[in-house]
Structures are given as C-alpha cells and as structure tokens.
Symmetry: C2
Subunit: 391 residues, 2 copies
C-alpha cells in the first residue's frame, strides 16, 4: 500500500494555548485542554501517496496546489521519515526515499475560522505515519506542523502537556478521557458574520509573548491551577465547574490579546452579545447550563449537555434570528424542535437582535481521533497521483 | 455670602483607576494620572446655598430633584462641615448648622458617558469649600464622592496617589504639571453610537476586584512602572512615550474588564475600529502622532498635539463620515479645514465605515481646575433657594 487516506477531527480548547517558548519546535508556554469534535460533522481528509515515479514532493490543499517548501510541512515530513528509517524494516527503507504527493481538504468552510490547520496537520501526520508504518506517539510531530494539531490525534478530552525538555520530546498530547466517558456532552458552533481582517493566531500569539505583561502572569499563575481543576471536572463529569473554567479561560485569553500591543481583537459585538446571552441564560436557569469559548476569531463554541440542546436552540433562534443566507441555519446532528416559555425568555431579559448576525450553527458532539478510510473511492488522488476531478 | 456658584472640569485618565481597596472611603488599588479638560467645552456647574430658612438639605441634578440620603453625598457634606467647624471662626460656626440647597447641571449630555460624576463631585466639594470657607486640600473629600473627582480639583496634569494610610488621609490628588506646561496638547473626544446597557464603573470595578486574577498583577507590577514613566514623559513633554503608555494602559484596563467574571465589555466594534485607525495613522506617520484612551464606555478620547489636529480631523471625517444626527459633527475649539493626501489615506489602508458610527466629536484642550462664578446671574438657584425656571 503506497496510498493512504485518513480523516482527522477538529478540536476546541477549553484551556487555551496562547504563546510559544520555542517558535521553531512549537513549544507552548502552558498546558492546554480540549475536546475533540465528532468527525461526522467536521473533519480534514488527506490522501498521501508515495511513488518512485514522483519527481518531487507535491501538495494540494482544498483544490489548490501549494508549495511544499514550508518549514512546518518540512518539519513534519522529515521527522516522520526519520522515525520510519529508525525502524529500518523493509517498507520504511524503500518508500521513505520516494517523493510523495499529498491532497487535503476540509468538509467545512475554512472561512468559518474553525481551527482548520489543527485538523489538517493532524490528518497529514496521521496519514504519513500509516504510510511509513510509524508507531508510537506522533502528537509531538503534528505539534511541529501546528501546535494545537497534536490535540486532534486523540478522541475525547485531550491535554497537551507543555513539557520541559529543550528538544520538545515531552511536549505531547495525552487523552484525559475517551469520547465514551461523557456521552451527553454536545457542542454548538455559532458561526458569526464578520467583515474584519483576521490576524493569524501564529502572528497574534508571538506579539502577545513580546508585548503583553499580563500573559506572563496568566501562564505562571492562572493556567496551571485551571488545568488541574478542569481535568478533574472532566473526570468527575462536573459540568458546573467545567463551564465556569471554560468561560473564564476564554475571557482571559481574549483579555491577553487586548493587552497585546497593538491589541488583537478577535471577538466582535455579536460575540459579546452571545456571551451576554449565555450568562443571562445560566442566571435564568439558576445553574451553569451552557458554557462558551472563543478561539482567535468571532465564532462561539458552546458546550452543553444533550438534554439542554432543544431549549438553548429555541432561545438562540429567538434572540439571533436567521438572516437570508442560503445555507441551513442549523447543521449537524438534528434536534427536535421545542418551544420555550415566555417566562424564560423574559427572565433572560434580552431583546431579539437584527437577523443575520449568525451565519449558521453546527450541532455536534465529542468524538474519536483520526481514522483510516480503507476504500479506494475515498482517495483524493488518482492512481497516477494527481487530484481527482471532483476535488 | 450664603450662595456660591462654581464650575469644575472633566478629567480623562491616561493611567486608569480601576479597583478599590476600601469601598467606603473610596481608596484605590493604584495611582492614576489624568489631564484636566478645558472648562470652556465641558464642565459641571453647581450652586450651593445655605439658609436658616431651609428645612432640610435638598439637591437637584440636571433639573431633577434627587435624594440627599446618598452615602457618597453625605460623606462629602459631613467632611466639609467637620472641617468648617474645626476652623471655629464665626462664619463656619453659624452657617454649617443651616440646611443647604444644591443645584447642579452639566453643559454636556450625560448620555455621552463622559465622567460626569467626577466633574459633578469636584464641583460640589469645591463650592461647599467656598461656602464654608474651608481651605487646604479638599481632593480627599471629593474622592469620597466619586474616586476620580479628586483629579478634577486641579488643572493641567494630575496624579491621584493611592496612599497607604488606613483613614485615606494620604489618598489625594496633586498637580504633576499646570495647564500652561504643555500648551500644544489637544483632546478630541469621539462620542460613539451605542445601544447597549451600561455597567456602572462602580459595580464593574468591584466585580473586577472580586474576580479578575489579572487585576492583581496589573496593580502590583504594571501600573507603578507606568505611572512613573508617564509622569516623566509629561514633565519632559515627550509625546511619543506619553502616547505609548496611554494606549497600553487603556488596553490593559479593558483587558482586566474582560478578565472579570462575568466580563465587562465597554468598548464596541466602533471603539475597536478607532483603535485600528489610530495604530494605522501612527504607522503611516512613522511616529506616534495620536494616542487613544477609553473609559468605562465606548467613547474614545484622543490626545494629540495642536499641529496634528487638522490632518487627523480630515482622516476621521473620511473614515467615520457623519450620520444624519441633528448636532454639529465637530464641537468645541474650531479647526481650519485641511485636505489630506490620497497617499496618506492609502497608507492607512482602512475603508470608510458606514456613516453615523460616531455621534459627534468634541475638540478641547488641557485646562484649569474649578472656578468660582461671581455674578448672580450664574446662580442656578433663586434667592428663595429653588431652581431657576431656565434649569
């Protein structure tokens, strides 16, 4: 088998990764914790193929050829090949000298700003590991492609350990709990309309490390405590604590971005209206029923338990009415419609916003890590090693 | 003279006051620094009158009678009366036992969210001090009305010292430099359209003290250095450093508000668009030409030197076109119109925003502290002690 196709999931951090202590090895300043989202709703799909006929390494991303002369891509490929040669069996020996072709695509719009590079690098490294028959932890390799990619190599709830070794060998991801541990957990991604120029996470976090005084304190004093507490909350399925820490860490991450100079502002007025709604919803519920987290963009990721989904959706449809976008407003796992009481709406005390502030919502759950797709029809490359027409 | 009318200025902090160590005495967690804005464009005006005929203390604010049974009002009045009696001369002795009537108004819309309580309490305490013939520092009394009011008792650039005494006796304001020291300094207040509910500063900062971990670090590690550095920059008329620290401290204050739980969000998308514009403007100018600061609301206060005003205004008119409000778009000190080069606009690289994001702009300068108005026509109370019809 010189061709392999895999899919890998998106992950959404509840303790945020923001700031590197080593730019080249992509070693973080703090531990982070995430949940891996179901591969059914969102995934990256990658085909890798090795052949003695290929003249050079080539890569196509979302239908467009890109350069392979990219430091992060090279780091991943070289490290996988090094590990393959270490094994020194026949297979690794032969094909690791051949050139490869890579074709990758996401099944969700990259415009949604949903950590596509994490899923993409996790998928690439996982596929290469299959191709070259590399075993053992590969999260430390995916990390060198895109830091948070290491967390997409495991299903369920995942912790990326900052590690202390200079070579980064202990900066790897481990599973906190498998996807079966807390089966009631659901995620609702609210894709927010936004027109602004985006500052890349990579540039943004480097600037925070260089200029934010508050980041130092966050890293040394706040995150270590929170990480231990949220891992415990996950193990105990303690939603109230999980929700509390998730909101606080998201807010603190965006506070550090604002303390960066010039400031990085990722959340917009709609993002903050969602935050207000969730706090009002929880207050009206007399308990944390929903929690929010925002990555380096305006979209909200809400975590909640399955039993709460119909009610929250009814409230969301009321407060954030759909605009006239052509897409389905609710995507992903279907939800039975439920009416919400006027008393509860009144208790929330928030007026409906103008239609169209949200583009759409994706309803999903916690899922497994990367998977191999065995059937040839899944391959994104033809037998000759070029993208299929459909891509 | 049993009646006195005074006016007092607004001040805008460049090192922000956020967080009290004593709620009752209003003692801050850190020093703060501000400039006092010219009384010509914005002021509070207060008439105080004492009479043996008044049955009880009464107060009218902006045309409406309010209760005098307000802890902060009582603290100020009692402290002034205590000081008057200490002097034990005839005047203090006689009238400090009479009831008083107070009438106060701002010459700028309170809706603008422009630190009206600071000007108001400074004016009240200054007027009472005249009425009761109290001398010496009265900033520590105004502080007990509204913390930042103590800074409005001096003109020019002012520092509020946090102090260390338990009774707050050393938590007072002093002048860093008089208004004549840096006569080129100008202030442009951009009043931003906003529909959201406002969280009061007082409630907001208490919540920050209770919940923000980053506030602790800001107070202990960031503000002390910045305060010394900006005082030096003011004394040296070093606009570049002044601008740098002012922007950073505003951003950090709002970062702490975001780190508060639930988060306090005072800036909106328009505020952040102004921030982006100022950074682009300075980059295109290859120097800090303008600096921004935001209080607990969406309005921007820009500090800049007089020579830069016409160019900045031309850029602002281009990027933030006026809406169809009935008010003058530029208020305050008149500015000669200037065209701005297409190259400079292109270097800024920001598209014009939709009209009406700003309600209006107030152009002002650094000015003097509170003043007594001697002519009877200025009094807001009639001879009988009730608001004049015009109020």
């Amino acid at each position: 088998m010189n061709i392999i196709t895999c899919i890998a999931p998106v992950n959404i951090a509840v303790i945020k990764y923001w700031g590197k202590r080593d730019e080249k090895l992509i070693l973080p300043l703090n531990d982070s914790v995430s949940a891996t989202l179901s591969i059914k709703e969102m995934h990256a799909k990658t085909t890798v193929m090795a052949s003695p006929n290929f003249k050079e390494d080539k890569i196509w991303l979302n239908g467009k050829e890109e350069t392979f002369q990219n430091q992060r891509l090279q780091s991943c490929l070289q490290e996988i090949r090094r590990r393959a040669k270490q094994k020194a069996d026949n297979k690794g020996d032969s094909i690791s000298n051949w050139s490869i072709h890579v074709c990758s695509e996401n099944n969700f719009p990259t415009a949604a700003g949903l950590a596509s590079s994490a899923a993409g690098y996790a998928c690439l490294v996982f596929a290469l590991a299959q191709l070259y028959d590399v075993s053992g932890d590969i999260s430390g390799i995916a990390r060198q492609g895109s830091g948070s990619a290491c967390r997409s190599l495991y299903g369920g709830f995942v912790r990326w350990h900052q590690g202390s070794a200079l070579d980064g060998s202990d900066s790897i991801a481990t599973q906190v709990a498998p996807e079966s541990h807390w089966p009631e957990m659901r995620i609702l991604v609210l894709v927010v309309s936004d027109k602004r120029k985006k500052v890349s996470s990579s540039a943004g976090m480097q600037n925070s490390v260089n200029t934010s005084e508050l980041l130092k304190y966050r890293v040394s004093h706040c995150v270590p405590q929170r990480t231990e507490a949220i891992v415990k909350a996950i193990i105990n399925k303690d939603f109230d604590t999980f929700a509390d820490i998730t909101m606080k860490d998201s807010n603190q991450f965006h506070a550090v971005c604002l303390d960066t100079f010039p400031p990085n502002v990722y959340m917009n007025d709609t993002s903050h209206a969602i935050v207000n709604l969730i706090h009002s919803y929880n207050t009206a519920s007399e308990k944390n029923k929903v929690t929010y987290t925002f990555d380096a963009g305006p979209n909200a990721c809400l975590y909640l338990l399955q039993s709460e989904v119909p009610k929250l959706l009814a409230v969301l449809n009321h407060i954030f009415p759909a605009g006239n976008e052509s897409v389905e407003y609710l995507q992903g796992i279907p939800v039975e419609k439920q009416a919400v009481s006027q008393e509860f709406i009144a208790a929330i005390g928030m007026q409906p916003q103008e239609p169209g502030l949200l583009k759409y919502m994706i309803h999903t759950e916690v899922g497994v890590g990367p998977q191999v797709l065995n059937e040839p029809r899944h391959h994104l490359l033809t037998d000759a090693g070029f993208p299929k027409a459909s891509v």
